[in-house]
């Protein structure tokens, strides 16, 4: 473990270092030219693009001893997180103008949170996981509260901070228990220790294990650790809600996946059935409560809980097929959810956020393009072909069935059918009701680009999913 420290050992961390530098530069630029917001967005875009590009050419490697792994698995998730950042930046321009958010810290904080996520997905050690997670979480707490004059945003921020701290404490407690019993925080070390002794039956170890998972489930918003998400989704600036529904979730799943696979590979039977419960509970809570929501952002919050449940289907299978299904699904979910939030932002105008479902009545008449886009995203979230949501779900169901979880899959498809009800309601309002107030939607270049990317992604992946699936499967070779 005691490798001599040289600068060359930092090569695998270069993308993270670069991004952290960019985050700092963003603050400096904001300080030096306080009037030029456009440039901040462009810089953020450039950094996200640059890092994605760099990641594809990066050699796999280890850094900080074995604490940090840059492998194809982490690249896949890093790309999802950066994609989330990219799309959010595109969506933000118009939204920030409408809501008059002037803080230059916006892009910088977002970039910092992505650095945190990148550390999370590359972490092979619980300490690094924790560091990354906190960097991500602290940045997002601030982002959630950016609308300083809005009471709901303040409430959301404080709520998120309190609950997030609590979950971090639980996670830390779990880590200490695990460390106390096995003497290491290294994933591989834990696995080694467990296979050499019969400590797996020790109730204290199980407690620690479950507590750590609770901390992670909180981050991905799986039931019963979901109580924060509807309020926070509703209170945050919409662009940040979009960001939160994609990037941190992907990072959380990456950690869950790596932790289970590297630290507890042999006790799949135990955690498999634990995940079945969490997964089905998430689908139940998400899909059933979403039916009664009247606010679009709240509805999408519950839908994201349900989708966390679907994504867990792949991980609970514990097979490489399952993992690649979950990975593909998270990417697909990124496309469709970013698109849906893009339309929510499109609806927003000065002084009137139009976040209620009622505001969507007759949208097809007043703004046919916006309605058509929303239709595509809603059908994709329901999982109707030929959209990406269907192929993603198909892959998950197949993986879980192949692993023998027949009943779980049957219950999952029934919940999926239930979910159709509230997604369809949006379409019903848009197409089958009369418009309430006429308004003109503004398409800024950034927002247009984001919507086009999402729509093309949703339909393109829906029709030709092969390359995404192959990439996800290839990314797992490192295990």
């Amino acid at each position: 473990m005691n490798m001599p420290f040289t600068l060359s050992t930092l090569v695998p961390v270069l993308p993270e270092i670069f991004l952290a530098c960019m985050a700092t530069i963003l603050i400096v630029v904001d300080f030096l030219c306080p009037r030029n917001r456009e440039m901040l967005a462009q810089l953020a875009l450039f950094s996200a693009f640059g890092v994605i590009f760099f990641l594809f050419y990066q050699e796999p490697g280890l850094a900080f001893g074995t604490m940090f792994i840059a492998d194809s698995y982490s690249v896949f998730f890093k790309v999802i997180c950066l994609f989330g950042m990219l799309m959010t930046t595109l969506l933000s321009g118009q939204y920030l103008k409408v809501e008059q958010i002037r803080q230059g810290e916006y892009y910088s904080l977002m970039t910092f949170s992505v650095v945190g996520m990148m550390f999370m997905v590359s972490a092979a050690d619980l300490i690094v996981v924790y560091l990354g997670l906190e960097l991500m979480a602290l940045s997002i707490y601030c982002l959630v509260g950016l609308l300083k004059s809005d009471a709901r945003a303040n409430e959301a921020s404080i709520k998120y901070f309190l609950m997030g701290s609590f979950s971090s404490a639980i996670l830390l407690y779990g880590i200490t228990l695990l460390y106390g019993l096995t003497g290491t925080t290294d994933f591989a070390g834990i696995a080694k220790y467990c296979s050499e002794t019969d400590i797996l039956k020790n109730p204290a170890l199980l407690t620690g294990f479950v507590l750590i998972l609770c901390g992670f489930f909180f981050k991905v918003g799986a039931a019963p650790f979901h109580f924060w998400s509807p309020d926070i989704y509703q209170g945050s600036p919409t662009s940040i809600t979009a960001f939160m529904s994609v990037a941190p979730k992907a990072a959380g799943f990456a950690v869950i996946g790596r932790f289970l696979l590297m630290a507890f590979p042999e006790s799949h039977e135990q955690w498999g059935s634990l995940l079945v419960i969490i997964s089905l509970l998430s689908m139940a809570v998400g899909n059933i409560i979403a039916i009664s929501q009247q606010n679009v952002k709240r509805m999408l919050a519950y839908s994201s809980i349900a989708h966390a449940g679907y994504a867990l289907l792949g991980i609970l299978a514990g097979t490489s097929e399952g993992y690649s299904a979950t990975m593909s699904y998270l990417l697909i979910y990124g496309f469709m959810n970013m698109g849906a939030f893009g339309v929510v932002i499109l609806m927003c105008s000065k002084g009137n956020r139009r976040e209620s479902l009622e505001d969507y009545k007759g949208l097809a008449k007043s703004n046919p393009m916006a309605a058509l886009l929303m239709l595509i995203f809603m059908f994709s979230l329901t999982g109707i072909p030929p959209t990406a949501g269907f192929v993603g779900k198909f892959y998950l169901l197949k993986a879980a069935l192949a692993a023998g979880y027949t009943w779980t899959v049957i219950i999952a498809v029934i919940f999926s059918a239930i979910s159709a009800y509230f997604y369809l309601r949006v379409i019903r309002y848009m197409y089958m009701d009369e418009p309430q107030d006429e308004f003109i939607t503004q398409y800024s270049p950034g927002l247009t680009a984001a919507l086009v990317i999402s729509a093309v992604g949703v339909l393109g992946i829906g029709i030709l999913p092969g390359s995404i699936f192959d990439w996800a499967a290839r990314s797992l070779v490192c295990f």
């Binding site: 109707i384 069935l401 027949t406 498809v413 369809l424 192959d470």
Partner: protein, 515 residues
């Protein structure tokens, strides 16, 4: 033939629909004309299928096969045989009529209406052509999107309830089938190729589970009793074109699913489940018919009569012999033609009266004699008058089911009597009773409407007088299908000879012009 005619048939209307989106909102007439041209061209493109189809083989024809998603061994695999060819043609034909009947009755969002209709056509044809189970599922589900909009946007007062019910019913069934499809894929050697899946043997227990999983999707679509309750709502609220597509094509897909998937892939389960399926069909026939007698809503009555008629279809299919299965397929076409025509007629009259209540009508024959004659023909075809197509289909089904289980045919025949009762009574109440003064001066059918009816009239007599022209397409494929089910090319349970010969034995009993 290397020309990708099936792909063209599937994607031409889709592309046409997308092109249609480009036309300006104000140019309503242009939209209509273009939609008509696209649907006519589509029909012309489909005609080579009729002429170049090889009736002497059960192998798939016009095959196109390309790898699609390699990871799962999913292929873009299209082809048609004697079972599916007629439905492809029917779909192309019915879409033209749908465009014609919607000419004036659709007043809002005209462009979107025709786009939905054309997208629906592409998906429908895709369903009948797909030979890869995954591809089939894509089309099967994609169909829901335009249909959901057709009913929900352009439907009647209670349309939102109806369309949501339709969507959810179908979706639950389809998703259960999806689980079945994936299971089959894993048991059947990691392939979605329908023909390869049918060549393997599966444990009977697995077959039974899969049978019911597929049943969930297909029975909802047919719809079989007791999962039929979405149909009356959907039919009643849908616009005329929606009802026509629903009656003529969409609900045929359930029965087609049984023929294409359940029977060849799960033969033992099919044989084992024969009696339960026959009983469900019988309940559908009698129950659907009796409910018709109590209806006060015109469209609802025809919708319930569909339940009854589709009961005949599933009865024919699950009686598992040549006559009955051929009768079942022919009856699917017949029902598509006749019920499609009835819904066209109702659409036309509704456009004038804006009421669907039967008691509001009366004496229409005085004011609309041409319409009354057309409707009389459709009514008689619906009750199976000899000389019309309904007679041939029902006769073959009864004949076949009598050979399998005589008591089944006995009960089913009672359905015919009920059918004649409610249809003729309906005709009497609308066209004969004392003239309702409200309808004095009602417009008689226009030329466009008469043209819309003509193809249906021709088909009714064509199939009624010369059924062999249709049955010829099926003989070999049906014989092959039954071989697959029984696993015994020599004969079926009833001892009737199978294949072309057996069909030839039946044919002399049918009214026909040739031979």
């Amino acid at each position: 033939m290397t020309f990708p005619i099936l792909s063209l048939l599937i994607f031409f209307p889709v592309l046409g629909g997308i092109l249609l989106l480009g036309i300006g909102k104000e140019n309503v007439k242009g939209v209509k004309i273009m939609a008509l041209v696209i649907s006519l061209l589509e029909f012309v493109i489909s005609l080579p299928l009729w002429f170049f189809f090889d009736k002497t083989t059960h192998h798939m024809q016009f095959v196109e096969r390309h790898s699609w998603i390699k990871l799962f061994n999913i292929e873009y695999y299209l082809g048609i045989d004697g079972i599916s060819v007629l439905f492809v043609l029917l779909s192309a034909l019915v879409t033209i009529l749908c465009v014609l009947v919607s000419w004036n009755s659709i007043e809002i969002k005209v462009k979107e209406f025709f786009v939905s209709l054309l997208l629906l056509e592409g998906a429908m044809i895709g369903v009948f052509c797909a030979l890869d189970f995954f591809l089939f599922y894509i089309f099967w589900e994609a169909m829901l999107i335009p249909m959901f909009l057709l009913i929900g946007v352009w439907g009647g007062p209670n349309r939102i309830y109806a369309t949501t019910k339709f969507f959810l019913y179908t979706l639950v069934g389809s998703l259960l089938m999806l689980v079945g499809i994936i299971t089959l894929y894993m048991q059947g050697g990691n392939t979605f190729d329908i023909l390869a899946l049918a060549e393997q043997n599966y444990p009977v227990k697995l077959q039974l589970i899969l049978f019911w999983a597929f049943f969930a999707a297909f029975a909802v679509k047919v719809p079989m009793w007791p999962v039929h309750t979405w149909l009356p709502d959907a039919h009643t609220e849908a616009p005329a074109a929606g009802s026509v597509v629903l009656a003529a094509i969409l609900i045929k897909m359930g029965a087609y699913g049984f023929l294409r998937f359940s029977m060849p892939i799960l033969p033992e389960a099919t044989s084992a489940m024969m009696i339960p399926m026959l009983v469900l069909s019988l309940i559908g026939i009698v129950y659907g018919g009796l409910i018709c007698l109590a209806q006060s809503d015109l469209k609802r009555l025809i919708a319930y009569s569909s339940v009854s008629h589709m009961g005949f279809v599933t009865l024919g299919i699950f009686a598992l012999n040549t006559q009955s299965v051929e009768g079942g397929i022919l009856q699917m076409i017949n029902h598509g033609v006749v019920t499609g025509a009835l819904f066209l007629g109702i659409g036309m009259v509704y456009e004038r009266t804006h009421t669907r209540k039967i008691s509001d009508y009366g004496g229409l024959a005085t004011n609309m004699p041409i319409f009354a004659s057309f409707f009389l023909l459709f009514t008689l075809a619906s009750v199976g008058l000899p000389g019309t197509n309904g007679f041939i289909g029902e006769l073959l089904i009864l004949l076949g089911s009598f050979l399998t289980r005589p008591w089944v045919a006995l009960i089913a025949a009672s359905g015919l009597i009920i059918g004649a009762w409610y249809m003729l009574w309906l005709y009497q109440r609308i066209f004969f009773n004392p003239v309702n003064a409200r309808w004095n001066g009602i417009r008689e059918l226009g030329l466009r409407e008469i043209i819309t009816f003509l193809p249906m009239v021709i088909l009714i007599f064509w199939i009624g007088l010369y059924p062999n022209s249709m049955l010829d397409y099926m003989h070999v494929s049906v014989a092959h299908l039954l071989d697959q089910v029984t696993g015994n090319p020599a004969g079926v349970t009833s001892g009737v000879q199978l294949g072309v010969d057996a069909a030839a034995n039946v044919v002399p009993h049918l009214p026909q012009v040739s031979h």
